[in-house]
């Protein structure tokens, strides 16, 4: 069990991502415990390691202390969320006994806590380095990308003007926006970038909007949200779109403020 010292938060993110995604690709669970502690050194880490393996002999873990951000991370091989939680209790005892603990402890286990994407992992690190409230408790990390903030948006429409208009306006609001001109391209971009939100016309060549939603539902149970932005005004179209899991239905001609307001409402 190697122990590393790092002084760059970027490296921490990267290491976490590499390790976690490697495990997950091989079909194993990967527990992660991040704790904010001050003034750890090699000797303390060694004694921590001994303490942990004494309490949990079957534990196979990597200990990394990031000096710069003062974050201790422990990566647990094949450790489910419940087991990770138990381990974190032992860790907390040790850290509190020696007065190392400075902030909260955040635990997660991938893929239980979400996709091991670099976005999720940086969110995880952010929970420790920039906590919302200062308290020395154990918190369980929840997937941010599907749950809360919408960051990336895919706009699907045959009309270039609509696409560009929506993209420019949404980019001003700070979203990362990409475009697709038909259902097929949209599906490709979806699997490539897995955007948080898709704004789609129903009337698309090759794959229409319904089929697009259907395919997305099939691929991903947690399904990216879909807002339909369409020329079709009939209630039957609206019904079918909502049955396929559309989050909202906006008809053209539309106002961009209405669209952004509805996106914000999805965020809440």
């Amino acid at each position: 069990m190697a122990v590393f010292m790092r002084d760059q938060v970027v490296d921490l993110n990267q290491d976490l991502f590499n390790f976690v995604s490697f495990k997950c690709v091989n079909g194993l669970a990967c527990g992660v415990i991040l704790a904010r502690c001050a003034n750890l050194n090699q000797k303390v880490l060694d004694s921590l390691k001994n303490y942990m393996s004494k309490h949990q002999p079957e534990l196979s873990a990597q200990y990394v202390y990031d000096d710069h951000n003062q974050v201790l991370s422990i990566l647990l091989d094949n450790w489910k969320l419940s087991a990770t939680h138990y381990t974190s209790l032992i860790l907390k005892d040790f850290l509190q006994d020696h007065h190392f603990l400075e902030g909260s402890i955040v635990i997660a286990s991938f893929p239980e806590s979400g996709e091991p994407s670099s976005f999720n992992l940086s969110q995880l690190v952010g929970c420790v380095t920039h906590p919302k409230k200062e308290s020395k408790e154990i918190r369980i990390f929840t997937d941010q990308s599907t749950g809360e903030e919408i960051q990336s948006i895919l706009v699907v429409d045959t009309d270039e003007v609509v696409r560009e208009f929506v993209r420019l306006r949404l980019e001003l609001q700070g979203y990362a926006v990409s475009e697709a001109k038909d259902g097929h391209e949209a599906l490709e971009k979806y699997s490539l970038m897995s955007p948080d939100l898709i704004i789609t016309e129903l009337n698309l060549p090759i794959l229409d909007g319904y089929q697009l939603m259907n395919q997305i539902n099939k691929r991903d149970s947690k399904s990216g949200k879909v807002i339909v932005l369409t020329d079709k005004h009939l209630s039957s179209h609206m019904n079918r779109a909502f049955e396929l899991g559309a989050a909202d239905y906006i008809t053209k001609p539309f106002s961009i403020s209405e669209l952004t307001w509805r996106i914000k409402k999805l965020n809440a």
Partner: protein
């Protein structure tokens, strides 16, 4: 010379011939004057209605209509015979039209190529047992295919029975009160149906048929079944047909529709009231020209039963079609048209012509069509022979012939220019100046050879008719993007 003439004058039968030729000359003059008057009348009506039409489609928000619930649902009927190359692209484009409620019914008319396999594979169709009306008798239907993933798409597989039969089978399955016929080698513009529906909605009860405008897609760039860049055809024959179509559709059909005397709704793209089409017994099978036939029957049915009606034309609803680009295929198409036209006149036209009961249609449209379209080749050929005789018998001098020729040419050329004027003011699909020059050039070129050979083709079609040669002829399909 004098001596010969003297002897000739002695000959009494030659005198008789002269008398006859003189009589023919008067007749021919009246013929030409009459046709010119009708041409200009119709053309005047076309011009007169261009501005209102333009206003009509400029101030209507087509975009809004294309999603509105007030637009009537339409069943699109797409007969397909050996269309494996274009069918996939065509159906994809039809499935993505801007129209609130419609269905696409593709009818495989016993194709010998892989049309059936291409369709079933591409859209993963499964055989369904659907309830089909038996309003019109058709050839045996082998199966109806559907995929819930594409709820608006139906596919009928039937034994070969011709285009009309395929359309009838489509009518039997269709679920909506309006039907629209579309050739499988044509591309509809996305809002074409909405534009036609707008015309229909102006008077939904009386409008029994609305025709769309057919334009030529050769040399245009097509992407995902949508015409992206409109280019004037580069080859000679499509270019000539292009100006011919513009003249016929814009210079002719706008005017004819203004007096409710439209005799044809192009088979490539038209919308009909299903109820009326069934009432007249559906499409007539077994002979080309079924698109003209159905319109004549609709006129007849409505006039005989004193039903107020109109057959409208919607020049802004565009359907792009592939024009034949080889001499062989074009000649076979035109012979087929000639044959179909004659058949329609024999079958329906002669019974209705010059009968006041049939109003404008019987008193103007049909006389015009019979005298100046169907019988046109005979007048032309006899006219040529007569001119030859006049010259040989010294009854005329070359100056007179030249003057006559020039007057005739100019009057026709003015009509061509007028059609181009309508195109440019109201539609302007070819906005480049070089395209306008080309159109002018080809409008002129039409008079040298193309029109004459067209007359010949029509005559050959008539010969086919009398010899009972009833085949469809050759039509070769190619991919849209070559």
């Amino acid at each position: 010379m004098r001596i010969i003439e003297y002897y000739l004058q002695q000959d009494s039968w030659l005198n008789l011939l002269r008398e006859f030729l003189l009589g023919y000359g008067y007749l021919a003059m009246f013929y030409v004057m009459a046709v010119t008057v009708i041409y200009f009348l119709i053309f005047g009506l076309s011009i007169r209605h261009t501005l209102p039409l333009k206003r009509g489609f400029q101030y209507n928000s087509i975009k809004k209509l294309s999603g509105s619930e007030h637009v009537p649902p339409v069943s699109l009927l797409v007969p397909a015979y050996n269309e494996e190359l274009t069918i996939k692209e065509n159906v994809r484009s039809l499935l993505a039209l801007n129209y609130p409620e419609y269905e696409v019914i593709v009818v495989n008319d016993g194709s010998q190529d892989d049309t059936f396999q291409v369709m079933v594979k591409e859209f993963q169709l499964k055989k369904v047992s659907s309830i089909v009306s038996d309003a019109i008798q058709t050839s045996k239907v082998r199966g109806i295919y559907h995929n819930p993933e594409y709820p608006q798409l139906y596919f009928i597989d039937k034994e070969n029975g011709g285009k009309a039969d395929a359309l009838n089978a489509g009518i039997n399955l269709s679920h909506y009160p309006l039907i629209s016929t579309i050739d499988a080698d044509s591309l509809l513009e996305k809002d074409a149906l909405t534009r036609i529906a707008r015309v229909y909605m102006e008077n939904p009860k009386d409008t029994v048929a609305v025709g769309g405008n057919v334009r030529i897609v050769n040399s245009c760039t097509v992407e995902d079944g949508i015409v992206k860049h409109v280019t004037f055809p580069k080859k000679l024959l499509p270019a000539l047909q292009n100006v011919e179509y513009i003249k016929a559709f814009l210079g002719g059909r706008i005017g004819w529709s203004a007096v409710n005397g439209l005799i044809i709704v192009s088979g490539a793209f038209g919308v009909f009231q299903k109820e009326k089409v069934i009432a007249v017994g559906g499409y007539r099978g077994g002979y080309p020209g079924e698109d003209m036939n159905i319109v004549i029957k609709l006129h007849r049915y409505c006039l005989e039963n004193k039903i107020p009606y109109r057959v409208a034309f919607c020049p802004d609803a565009v359907c792009w079609t592939q024009a034949p680009d080889s001499y062989r295929i074009l000649s076979s198409q035109r012979k087929r048209w000639g044959r179909g036209n004659l058949k329609n006149m024999v079958e329906e036209g002669f019974a209705m012509v010059f009968r006041p009961r049939y109003k404008v249609f019987g008193m103007l449209t049909l006389p015009y069509n019979i005298l100046f379209e169907t019988l046109n080749p005979y007048f032309r050929i006899s006219g040529m022979l007569a001119i030859l005789a006049y010259w040989m018998l010294n009854m005329t001098e070359w100056k007179t012939i030249v003057v006559f020729g020039l007057v005739n040419f100019l009057s026709c050329f003015i009509l061509s220019l007028g059609a181009l004027y309508i195109e440019e003011t109201a539609f302007s699909r070819y906005p480049k100046l070089s395209d306008l020059n080309k159109m002018l050039f080809y409008s002129f070129l039409m008079f040298i050879g193309y029109r004459q050979i067209g007359v010949l083709w029509r005559l050959m079609g008539h010969i086919d008719f009398f010899r009972n040669n009833n085949t469809w002829g050759t039509m070769v399909r190619t991919n849209f993007n070559k």
